[in-house]
């Protein structure tokens, strides 16, 4: 009763006790893998857990052929081996000879059940999702105060738009009670009415991200009046928070890209709008000026002085036409006259004289064109081309010419 043992003695004693136990010498344990580490030595360290407890495990490099797949967190497995004391730490653990896969873990089944229940309740309805504002002024962030996530968000946000106010509500993003701090953070930020809230953390094991699979977080996101972007840094796996969020970003950096608008683009857009406004106003003025010019031309046409000028022009035109016609008429008349002169020439008595005809007159100058107008013994004066011949009529004889 009063004997005092050394630590090593106690550990050795227990180790012997375990070694002689029929069950602990060889047993199979079912559980979910977490904290799995492949050590450089080739040994694999991990923890088996279920809803209420956990058990440290190790598989030595020499026994690795007992493991046919890559061990990873969240896997449900059955481990065969013995339980013994690790004397250095005074801790018992399971020394694995063989590890068998048991399909996906209980936590995953729990995740699926919760997802189904919340989906049925409408927490993931697209109709409920709020649009993310294009130009936020204030962005709330719920994540760990010292982590890759906040660093990434700050970097991206500062690059895109340093004029946006970021408010960080630090939260515990993994471990016991994390979900409660995340939920509280969202509520606190929502009360400050930022334009959008980013909730997230950097990547990690399924277990690390577990807080984002809890119902309380999903409900707070759903009820949050401010749009929420989830940014649980795991490209491929969706968390419950992702489904409940208004927008899911694959990483915190991506969330910052989605939440914070690029200020240079906005400035460009505003410059374009300014130019468009100026252009349309100038166009408007130019149009008005053009219409005014058109009207002033129109009004000039109706003015009396214009009318007068038009009449004058028409008059001048008529005058020109008149004188032209007159000139034409003149030319025509001259031609006609010449023609008549020709014809006159053809019938002129002088012409006849040259061809041997002559004009006969009596002593008193009366034309003799019939035997009635003369008689034997009477004189006759015949005009020829170069003078007159005076002759005496010897006789007259009637000839019927049948005119």
């Amino acid at each position: 009763m009063t004997e005092v043992y050394s630590v090593s003695q106690v550990n050795t004693y227990i180790k012997n006790l375990f070694a002689h136990d029929s069950l602990l010498g060889y047993l199979s344990v079912r559980g979910e893998v977490s904290g799995c580490k492949y050590h450089t030595s080739g040994h694999i360290y991990f923890t088996l857990k279920d809803a209420s407890g956990q058990l440290g495990c190790v598989m030595f490099a020499s026994l690795r052929r007992g493991l046919a797949f890559r061990l990873a967190d969240g896997l449900s497995v059955v481990v065969r081996g013995r339980i013994s004391i690790y004397e250095r730490d005074g801790r018992y653990q399971l020394y694995a000879n063989e590890i068998l896969r048991e399909g996906t873990g209980d936590l995953y089944a729990q995740f699926l059940r919760l997802k189904e229940r919340l989906a049925a309740e409408g927490l993931f309805d697209t109709g409920h999702k709020k649009p993310i504002p294009a130009y936020p002024k204030t962005v709330g962030i719920v994540t760990a105060a010292a982590g890759a996530a906040i660093h990434d968000i700050l970097t991206v946000s500062a690059r895109r738009n340093p004029y946006v106010q970021l408010i960080l509500c630090p939260a515990q993003v993994q471990g016991e009670g994390a979900a409660v701090t995340i939920a509280r953070g969202i509520r606190r930020l929502a009360a400050m009415n930022p334009d959008v809230i980013i909730v997230g953390r950097g990547g990690g094991s399924a277990e690390d991200l577990w807080a984002f699979n809890e119902e309380i977080v999903a409900r707070v996101i759903y009820e949050c009046p401010v749009p929420v972007i989830s940014a649980v840094g795991h490209e491929t796996d969706f968390t419950i928070a992702d489904f409940a969020a208004d927008l899911r970003a694959p990483t915190p950096s991506a969330a910052a890209e989605l939440a914070v608008n690029e200020v240079s683009l906005l400035e460009g857009t505003l410059a374009d709008l300014h130019a468009a406004l100026l252009k349309s106003m100038r166009q408007k003025i130019a149009d008005c000026r053009g219409r005014l010019n058109g009207l002033s031309v129109q009004i000039r046409y109706t003015s009396p002085s214009y009318q007068l000028q038009q009449q004058r022009l028409r008059l001048a035109d008529l005058q020109t036409r008149l004188s032209m016609l007159f000139r034409q008429r003149l030319v025509l008349s001259r031609k006609e006259t010449a023609l008549l002169a020709e014809r006159m020439k053809a019938v002129s008595p002088l012409e006849r004289l040259t061809s041997g005809y002559s004009y006969l007159a009596d002593e008193e100058g009366h034309m003799v064109n019939s035997i009635e107008k003369t008689g034997p013994g009477r004189q006759i004066i015949a005009s020829v081309t170069d003078g007159e011949i005076t002759a005496e009529v010897k006789s007259v004889r009637k000839i019927n010419r049948n005119r």
């Binding site: 504002p133 294009a134 130009y135 002024k137 105060a145 700050l154 340093p162 004029y163 946006v164 106010q165 970021l166 408010i167 960080l168 509500c169 630090p170 939920a183 509280r184 509520r187 606190r188 930020l189 009360a191 200020v263 906005l266 400035e267 857009t269 505003l270 709008l273 300014h274 468009a276 406004l277 349309s280 106003m281 166009q283 408007k284 003025i285 008005c288």
Partner: protein, 68 residues
């Protein structure tokens, strides 16, 4: 802060509508001047609301003003 603040998006939407009216509607010159002035005002509002002051991160203290 008595008047409800217009969002940048709303202002830009309004500006786009003004532009559409200026470009297509047969508005009078007086009206177009009014629209133009309104547009310039909105543009100034947009530019102002970018508020080009670099903001420092605000970190809320634990348990401060916690309404939960």
């Amino acid at each position: 802060m008595a008047k409800k603040e217009k969002t940048l998006e709303a202002a830009m939407e309004e500006l786009n509508q003004i532009l559409a009216r200026l470009e297509t509607d047969p508005v009078s010159l007086e009206d177009s001047f009014r629209l133009y002035q309104e547009g310039m005002k909105l543009l100034k509002y947009c530019n102002d609301s970018i508020d080009k002051v670099e903001k420092k991160l605000i970190i809320l203290e634990e348990g401060n003003g916690d309404g939960v």
